[in-house]
Symmetry: C2
Subunit: 164 residues, 2 copies
Amino acid sequence: MDEQILERFNEFVKRRSLRRTTQRDSIVRSIFAKDEHFTSEELFERIRRTDKRASRATVYRTISLLVEAGLLREIDIGGEEKTYDPNFLDKPSHNHLVCIDCGKVVEFEDLNIDLLNDCVTRRLGFRPMRQSIHIEAGCEQLRLKGICPNLLATRLSGKRIKKR
Amino acid sequence: MDEQILERFNEFVKRRSLRRTTQRDSIVRSIFAKDEHFTSEELFERIRRTDKRASRATVYRTISLLVEAGLLREIDIGGEEKTYDPNFLDKPSHNHLVCIDCGKVVEFEDLNIDLLNDCVTRRLGFRPMRQSIHIEAGCEQLRLKGICPNLLATRLSGKRIKKR
DNA sequence: GTTATTGCAAATGATTTGCACAAGG
DNA sequence: CCTTGTGCAAATCATTTGCAATAAC
């Protein structure tokens, strides 16, 4: 993981006169070890594997801190539980496409769309702050050949398919 | 209200061999009497004013039916409760801008953005189905003059400001 | 030492559900 | 009639919170 993220978090924690704890460190490390989206429960289970007495409460509380610190973002990809995205540090303005066939989530960036959105925002009399695009789409391969490569890939990798 | 919507709902209900009831009729009428976004609780309170023994359960169940029928859409404008938007029949591809100063929600349509999104979707190997843009923006007037016209308008009209 | 943090279990709050009675067709 | 809908209250489920014990600084 990029140790720099941990540093940034600890600066944030210090600035708020909060405390650096082993639990917070390990949760932050666990989150930014991958670039995968996750729910609180998934993260909790991940943490539990290495620390048998970690608590859900601390996981929830640390996630909130990370969101306040601007290091983590809640995203909307459907589902009952909130989903978090650790990739906004690398790609500050990316968006999400969700495949309605397999649930796969694809991240993408598009400068032109960002620009157009800013125009619309100003035309409406507002100052652009943040924008996000949510696309639901079907798999083209599935329609043409009856095979969804993402679904296959998902099966192979054992990745959980998000129920919508 | 456009009685045609009620008709469409009742066709849907019949197709599923469900039943047309006075409660469903009155809930559908209540929703499409305005073009305002609402939460289940707000709708329930609205219904309660005219029908003292209406139940939350039926409101929730009817909302679900309307969403399945494609007549109502859940939208994401933050907040803990789900928000529903009855305006997709008139504007099938509109988006939402939320003012971070006053919580006002502005609907807008933009064909160019829709087109660009479709391009991106195809480039990624998917078939466009549905897309939505969520913009958070600050009030330009507030920054320049210290006055947010929406906030004023909201106060005057007594409209509830969504907490975020 | 003083203040913040943790883990637990209990609380919360929106939404869902089981069930007995009522209503639609 | 027979089946689906309603209203009520209880259940659910993710998330939050109070609190006593523990760890930072």
